[in-house]
């Protein structure tokens, strides 16, 4: 059992998202950095979709009421266990009574903390993701508060002590300052040549109004005002919408199911984690990519994931 002393800016129980209900208007929610969540679970021999905690920026603090194994991936929130630094992307043991602290974000802004066995959570429509607006799923359909207690569904010790730290996965995402890979959509060619040029050359500032619904960009693409009105349709994580004021919105996990703004393109899946880690005030750039390049990059990322699963299979008893 894990006691929340302080949730920090925002702590929610998430999984890989609630798919299958978007036709009813129910959004996917889920972790912003899904890859980090999957890796943190894989390191513990959990199902990759098991519920984990998503922590945001600094300030979270927990006390372990029971001994259990944990793994932490995504942003580097300077995590410590009783004052001793905790490695990213490696399983670690927390004894009953020990304190886990996440004082300050060094790189990125969202970390996934998984527990061996997965956190117990309210499963709605097949997913434990917290739908904050709907008020269901995860931990009683809400963000964690001080005094909340989380339980692991099925704790347990490893059969062999975990050896390897996947430093290469510590933040493939977070560390890189490379532009985000971007796949063009219909509205892109309707922008002025000047704006298309700007989209792929300029740096855009992530607005303070950004949240789990989407990243709002501060600089405007003025020709967006002339775009043909779009019919509302389903949208995905990473979709770049252009409202008439030209300030793009890159949709996140808590996006609404459908959107009516013109869509200039979509950030490739391989860069969704980096999108999740961009902080308000940071800058972001885009580069055009092709479907085949995006696919190759994604498959390479999936191979890294498979390597974690295979390594972890030596550490944990098979179900």
């Amino acid at each position: 059992m894990l006691e929340c002393i302080s949730p920090g800016l925002l702590a929610t129980v998430q999984d890989t998202g609630r798919y299958g209900m978007q036709s009813q208007g129910v959004g996917t929610a889920g972790a912003m950095d899904v890859f980090a969540l999957r890796v943190s679970n894989a390191l513990l021999g959990n199902r990759e979709t098991a519920p984990a905690l998503e922590l945001t920026l600094g300030g979270a603090e927990f006390r372990a009421r029971e001994t259990a194994w944990y793994a932490l991936c995504g942003a580097d929130l300077s995590a410590t266990l009783d004052g001793v630094e905790v490695p990213l992307c490696a399983p670690f043991r927390v004894e009953a009574g020990q304190k886990l602290r996440f004082p300050l974000a060094r790189t990125g802004q969202r970390a996934c903390l998984a527990i061996r066995g997965g956190f117990e959570a309210e499963v709605v429509f097949g997913s434990a993701a917290t739908d904050l607006r709907g008020g269901f799923g995860g931990f009683h359909g809400r963000a964690l508060r001080s005094g909340d207690h989380l339980r692991a569904s099925r704790a347990g010790e490893p059969t062999r002590l975990p050896q390897r730290v996947f430093t290469s996965l510590a933040h493939p995402a977070v560390m890189s300052r490379e532009p985000l890979a971007f796949l063009a959509a219909e509205a892109l060619e309707q922008l002025s040549a000047e704006d298309r040029e700007r989209l792929f050359h300029d740096a855009f500032t992530v607005s303070r109004a950004s949240d789990r619904m989407g990243l709002r960009l501060e600089q405007s693409l003025m020709s967006a005002a002339n775009l043909a009105q779009a019919l509302s349709a389903s949208v995905t994580f990473g979709t770049l919408q252009l409202p008439p004021d030209g300030r793009g919105i890159v949709l996140g996990a808590d996006r609404q199911t459908t959107g009516g703004y013109p869509v200039a393109g979509v950030v490739a899946s391989v860069d969704h984690g980096r999108l999740a880690q961009l902080r308000p005030g940071e800058s972001v750039r885009f580069r055009i990519t092709s479907a085949s390049e995006a696919r190759t990059a994604w498959l390479a990322r999936e191979r890294q994931f498979a390597q974690v699963q295979i390594a972890a299979s030596a550490w944990w008893p098979q179900p």
């Binding site: 209900m21 978007q22 036709s23 129910v26 709907g134 799923g137 389903s234 995905t236 899946s269 696919r295």
Partner: protein, 227 residues
């Protein structure tokens, strides 16, 4: 009838478009395609989502043979059972009395109609539920009498009660849950459009034919208690 087109939307979704208009006939094909694709339960397909004139198929980006999948989906969409199933009729009881209709006076002033004319016109039409989206259970309705159209409020309310029936521009809708909103509120239904722990969760389904049924405040209270 235009042929559907299919293209990638990013690397995790396929967008099938049946047209570029809000049109019940196009939407009927969309809904038939949605049901046909969803019922295939294809591996690697995470979600199938209809809208006015398109179906979006959300896929695992690692799914192999995506071109083959596109061809299969397109062939399916070109050969749909026409018009799909007959529309289900759903009556939504609405109390249009002033306690539930804070914007009725403004709507009357804007449209030049009396409140009873607004009610009779609003409840005389069969509305089509084109699809559900935006928020759980919210129906995108078509069929509003154009004499009732009125622009949204310039400053949205910070809270609109669940069940509020409202007009925003050329559209009418029902707020499934309490939320901020800028539409003109002319009534309220005691029914819940969405409950995550009810089966089925949504009161409405895409393709439904909906009619608003005027009720009194007393009937509203009775239905609120029983519902």
């Amino acid at each position: 009838m235009t042929l559907p087109t299919i293209r990638f939307l990013g690397d995790a979704a396929l967008l099938i478009e049946f047209g570029k208009r809000i049109d019940p006939e196009i939407n009927a094909r969309v809904l038939a395609a949605w049901q046909a694709i969803a019922s295939l339960r294809l591996p690697g397909v995470r979600d199938v989502v209809p809208a006015y004139a398109s179906v979006t198929v959300h896929i695992d980006p690692a799914l192999p043979e995506q071109d083959l999948l596109c061809a299969r989906l397109l062939a399916l969409c070109e050969d749909l059972p026409f018009a799909g199933r007959p529309a289900r009729r759903v009556d939504i009881p609405v109390c249009y009395e002033s306690a539930f209709a804070p914007d009725m006076d403004e709507l009357c002033a804007y449209t030049g109609l009396t409140a009873s004319e607004v009610v009779s016109r609003h409840s005389a039409t069969d509305y089509r539920v084109f699809f559900l989206g935006f928020t759980p259970g919210f129906p995108y309705l078509g069929g509003l009498d154009s004499s009732l159209a009125m622009p949204r409020r310039e400053t949205p309310r910070t809270r609109v009660d669940a069940g509020s029936v409202a007009i925003g521009g050329e559209q009418t809708g029902i707020y499934p849950s309490a939320s901020p909103g800028g539409w003109r509120i002319i009534g309220r239904t005691p029914l819940s459009l969405f409950k995550h722990d009810r089966q089925p969760s949504c009161l409405l389904a895409p393709g439904d034919a909906l009619r608003f049924l005027p009720i009194t405040g007393a009937e509203f209270s009775a239905l609120s208690v029983s519902g």
